[in-house]
């Protein structure tokens, strides 16, 4: 099954609004998976709604956002673990996914070595296992039981497992949790290397804004909906960024110093900065600063504020430098 059909109660089409055409429009022939106006509802509450984006071959897309903003939900929907309640998810046929979930506890009663974990969902050659383990730096732990690994080692083992099967799409839900700072940089470097070598698409969930800057093609900020999106590339290549690498806070500010221009109320409605209330929250509903407020600067590629979507969607993915 390569496609999840739109549900009958899908949200009204907003294709007429120019600011909304960016997601699917950028999903060219290379798109591995495309989410269109996806919403997930649980117990009468929308966890996420109106989510539009795609991941193409060779592209790294990073989802960021506060706790409970629907990052994991969105990623699970993209790979078919959760089914959308509205909108649709299109996948290419035979899409091979490698998935590292956010939480994974393996019961002690299950004897599982790192080596055995590698072939959990499909057979692999010994050389492929060894390669994946050495690229994540845990070849020496091949015979260790997974329950005895430290948090960081376990995270590496999960990443090794996901990449060993040479997926088309790698989905990593906070892959560096429990990894120390230098290990974190090494792992993100590895993720970039995997992308460059295999050309797979990567959907990354991160709370680490400074690393987002370094590796990502597209950052999508979620807060129950797509707050904003953009490329951190220009900023990350600037000399200021290079000099500041390692100073977390400064980089975080450099990329995503945006105020949320609205508040999600407990009853599910949305209070906007202009004082209005709406039932749902969509960037093009006319209540968002992105559409109405006078910009305090010119939006271009180097501003990196994420509000320059209209410009970005004119840029072909291939034209963006990926040094």
């Amino acid at each position: 099954m390569s496609e999840t059909d739109a549900h009958s109660h899908a949200a009204p089409s907003r294709t007429g609004a120019p600011a909304r055409s960016d997601g699917p429009a950028r999903a060219g022939r290379d798109a591995l998976v495309t989410l269109r106006e996806v919403g997930i509802r649980r117990s009468g509450r929308w966890l996420v709604r109106g989510v539009d984006f795609s991941v193409s071959r060779g592209e790294i897309v990073t989802l960021i956002g506060p706790n409970g903003s629907g990052k994991s939900t969105t990623a699970k929907t993209a790979i078919g673990v959760m089914k959308p309640d509205e909108g649709r998810v299109d996948k290419i046929g035979g899409l091979k996914v490698g998935y590292v979930p956010q939480k994974l506890a393996i019961d002690w009663t299950l004897p599982l070595t790192v080596e055995r974990l590698m072939t959990l969902t499909g057979p692999l050659k010994r050389a492929e296992i060894a390669e994946a383990l050495s690229s994540t730096g845990i070849l020496h732990l091949a015979r260790a039981e997974v329950q005895h690994l430290s948090g960081g080692e376990f995270q590496r083992a999960l990443l090794a497992r996901a990449i060993a099967r040479r997926p088309d799409l790698l989905v990593l839900d906070e892959p560096v949790q429990g990894v120390d700072f230098s290990g974190e940089i090494a792992l993100y470097d590895l993720i970039k290397t995997i992308r460059n070598r295999t050309g797979c698409g990567i959907l990354l969930i991160s709370h680490d804004l400074h690393v987002v800057m370094a590796e990502t093609d597209t950052v999508i900020c979620l807060n129950g909906h797509v707050c904003c999106r953009g490329t951190p590339q220009a900023v990350s290549q600037s000399p200021e960024y290079q000099r500041l690498f390692g100073v977390k806070a400064a980089q975080t500010l450099a990329v995503y110093n945006h105020d949320h221009d609205h508040t999600h109320l407990p009853d599910g409605r949305v209070l906007h900065a202009d004082g209005s209330l709406t039932d749902h929250c969509h960037p093009d509903d006319g209540h968002h600063a992105e559409d109405t407020a006078a910009p305090d600067h010119v939006h271009d590629e180097s501003c990196g504020c994420g509000h320059n979507q209209i410009r970005l969607k004119r840029l072909e993915p291939g034209k963006r430098d990926r040094a």
Binding site: V97, Y99, L110, P111, T121
Partner: protein
């Protein structure tokens, strides 16, 4: 010289133990002990319905156990009560409804103790065929299901994302459980089936470096328990079903003793150095 009925009991018991070993591992790994208990308890409802409707006993038990597991899946999806509470409701309700139905059928006299605790010494040659034939079927299905079932045991989301359909493997697993309960009821009885699933698997854990090895060890330990229990029951003139469970428990307790214990990374165990 051993009597024929004792030989038949040994053959049937060993066949059953080999079958339930790997399945028992999944019950332990998936933390489904109480679930297995519930399916087993519902077997008595199957017995009652088979008498009431004049159905084949094993078919009736299989169908009822499968229905109860499907009912549980449906109730879990609906949300609300915890799985724990749902199991408690289903388990004892099915058992009690079975007993009530039996009480209504005043024209039927059944050996309740035989159903609850098994009557392995009464197995016929036809029973042996069913145990071994059914056992081979269950093990073959388990070999074919092994990868998706193990993957969804570790994490259903990984299994789903990577195309292994955890829902389907769970459904097949429940059907296999229902089948094993139908086969095992006559040998160890409704109340003791779960112990034959769990105790050998729990014993095997300490000696196993991989899931596959643990499955094989669980079968072997189960077989040894059956042989030990049957000879024990012959020697001490004790009921056979409970004697098998006691034998399994003895092996489990022995396995806890720190004899030749190896530390968990596989190197020989060396006690930590004391402080001076």
């Amino acid at each position: 010289m051993l009597d024929d009925f004792f030989i038949r009991a040994l053959i049937a018991g060993v066949g059953l133990a080999i079958t339930v070993g790997p399945l028992g591992c999944f019950v332990v790994w998936r933390r489904m002990a109480y679930f297995g208990d519930t399916m087993a308890h519902s077997a008595l409802l199957g017995v009652a319905l088979s008498l009431l409707l004049d159905l084949n006993l094993m078919v009736s038990v299989f169908i009822v156990a499968a229905m109860v597991s499907l009912l549980l899946l449906a109730l879990q999806k609906r949300g609300g009560l915890s799985t724990d509470a749902l199991l408690g409701i289903l388990s004892h309700s099915a058992l009690s409804i079975g007993l009530v139905i039996v009480a209504f059928m005043t024209w039927v006299r059944i050996d309740l103790v035989g159903f609850l605790f098994g009557d392995i010494l009464a197995v016929s040659e036809a029973d042996i065929d069913i145990v071994w034939g059914g056992g081979i079927l269950v093990l073959m299905a388990l070999v074919m299901l092994w990868r998706p079932l193990l993957a969804s045991t570790v994490n259903p989301e990984i299994a789903e994302a990577e195309g292994l359909n955890p829902e389907r493997s769970r459904l097949f697993f429940m059907l296999l459980m229902a089948l094993v309960i139908a086969i095992a009821m006559k040998i160890v009885g409704i109340l003791l089936i779960t112990s034959l699933l769990i105790i050998p698997a729990a014993t095997a854990r300490r000696f196993s470096a991989s899931p596959e090895i643990m499955a094989v060890f669980a079968s072997l330990i189960g077989a040894v328990s059956v042989v030990g229990g049957l000879f024990g029951s012959l020697h001490f003139d004790t009921p056979s079903g409970p004697s098998i469970v006691v034998a399994a428990l003895v092996i489990f307790v022995l396995s806890l003793l720190p004899i030749g214990r190896r530390s968990r990374d596989g190197t020989p165990y060396s006690p930590p150095e004391g402080h001076h």
